[in-house]
Symmetry: none
Subunit: 186 residues, 2 copies
DNA sequence: TATTATAGTGAACAATCGTTCACTGTCAAG
DNA sequence: CTTGACAGTGAACGATTGTTCACTATAATA
C-alpha cells in the first residue's frame, strides 16, 4: 500500500514536474482526509523515500545500488551527474530557440563517435571556432565536418581516413555548430 | 537580466528538485519585494519558459525542431514552421522509472561510438539479448560491453581491439541494457 | 473478551503562499 | 521639459498550505 502510494507520487512528479499538494494526494490515494496523507508522508519520510524541509516535500534521489558498489574500471563521477541531471534536454540543449535536431546519414564523422543514424543537436546562435564540429555548405553540398584552419583560411576535415580535407573553392557557409549527439538503440 | 534569472530558477530546481517560492526567488534575484518576482515570472511565462496553473509554477520542458538529413539542407522559414518539435528525453528514454544515466569513463566501447565522457541511458527493465550493449558485473568488476554468446554461454566483448573478450568465471550479473547515448560538446 | 496499534475522518490552526494595490525612482523617447 | 514605460518597494489581501487535535472503525494480539 505504501509502495503503491509512493509510486503514485513519483508518477505525479514526473508528469507535472512538481510534488502534489496534500489535497491532490488525497485524491490520488482516494482518501478523504488530509491527515491520512500527512501520516503517509511521515512514513515515507521514515523510509527515506521522501524528504521534508520547512514544509517543502521533495523526492529523495533513489540511490542506484549499482553505483555504490562500483570498483575500479567504472565511473564514480556518474553518481552526482545522475542525481543532478533533471533532463537530457537541458543537459544537451542550451538555446532551444536556435537549436534543432539533424539525422546523420554519412560516416564521415565516425571516428569522432558520430555514427550513421545518430541525431546531432545543432546550435546556430554560437560562433564557430576552430575544432568545432560544424554543419557547413561547400560548393552547394551540406556536410558535417571538423572546422580547422590552414594558411589562415578555413578548411573542413572529416573524422574518417577515407575522406580528404575540403578546401572550399568559393565560399564557406556555416549553418551551425554541433553541440550534442543523441543515439537510440533498439 | 531575464535570462540570468531564468538560469537561477533552473539552477535552484536542479539542486532542490522543486521550484523556489517567491520569497526564495527574491533572495536569488537580490530584490526585496515579492512583487518584483511576480512581474519577472509573468514575463517568463510570456516567453514560454515557465508555466503557471492554479498558482503552481513549473518549468516548461525543452523541445527542439527535428529536421531531416544533413544532405537535404535546410528548409525555408515557412517550411520550418511545419516541422514537429520533439523532446530528446522522450526520444531516448522509453521507461523513465526503470532507466538511469551513467557517465562513461573507459574507452572499451570506443569503436561503437561511445566515447569517454559520454552519458549512456541504461534500462534495467528490458531483457538483455545477444548483441545488446550491457552494464555487467564480472568477477566484481563493472563494465560496459557487448553481450554475446559462445558455446551456449554468455561472453562480453569490447568494442576496442585492445581488450580481449571476457568469459565470466563465476557468474554474470547484468544491471541493465544501454538504450541510448548522449554526448555534450563545448 | 479485552487491549492495543493502525489508518482514516473531520474540523480547526497558524503560517505561508501567490497575488494585488498604490507608490517611487529611473531612463529613454517624444 | 514632459511623458510614458519599466522595475522595484512595501504593505495588505484572501486562499491554500502543512500541521495538529480529538475521535472512529478495523484488525490483530494477548
Amino acid at each position: 500500500m505504501l509502495q503503491k502510494r509512493y509510486g503514485q507520487i513519483v508518477e505525479f512528479y514526473r508528469l507535472n514536474k512538481r510534488m502534489p499538494t496534500y489535497k491532490e494526494m488525497s485524491v490520488l490515494f482516494n482518501v478523504k482526509s488530509k491527515n491520512a496523507v500527512f501520516k503517509t508522508i511521515v512514513k515515507l519520510e521514515h523510509l527515506g523515500l521522501v524528504k521534508k524541509e520547512e514544509r517543502h516535500i521533495t523526492l529523495k534521489p533513489i540511490s542506484i545500488k549499482l553505483l555504490g558498489n562500483i570498483e575500479a574500471g567504472f565511473p564514480s563521477p556518474a553518481e552526482e551527474e545522475l542525481l543532478d541531471t533533471i533532463s537530457i534536454d537541458r543537459l544537451l540543449v542550451k538555446n532551444p530557440n536556435t537549436s534543432f535536431l539533424l539525422k546523420v546519414s554519412g560516416d564521415s564523422m565516425i571516428e569522432a563517435g558520430i555514427m550513421p543514424g545518430d541525431f546531432v543537436i545543432v546550435d546556430r546562435s554560437i560562433e564557430p571556432k576552430e575544432g568545432d564540429i560544424v554543419i557547413a555548405c561547400v560548393d552547394n553540398n551540406w556536410t558535417m565536418k571538423y572546422l580547422s584552419k590552414e594558411n589562415g583560411s578555413y578548411i573542413l576535415i572529416a573524422a574518417n581516413k577515407n575522406y580528404k580535407p575540403i578546401k572550399p573553392k568559393s565560399e564557406l557557409t556555416i549553418a551551425g555548430v554541433v553541440v550534442g549527439v543523441a543515439r537510440k538503440y533498439r
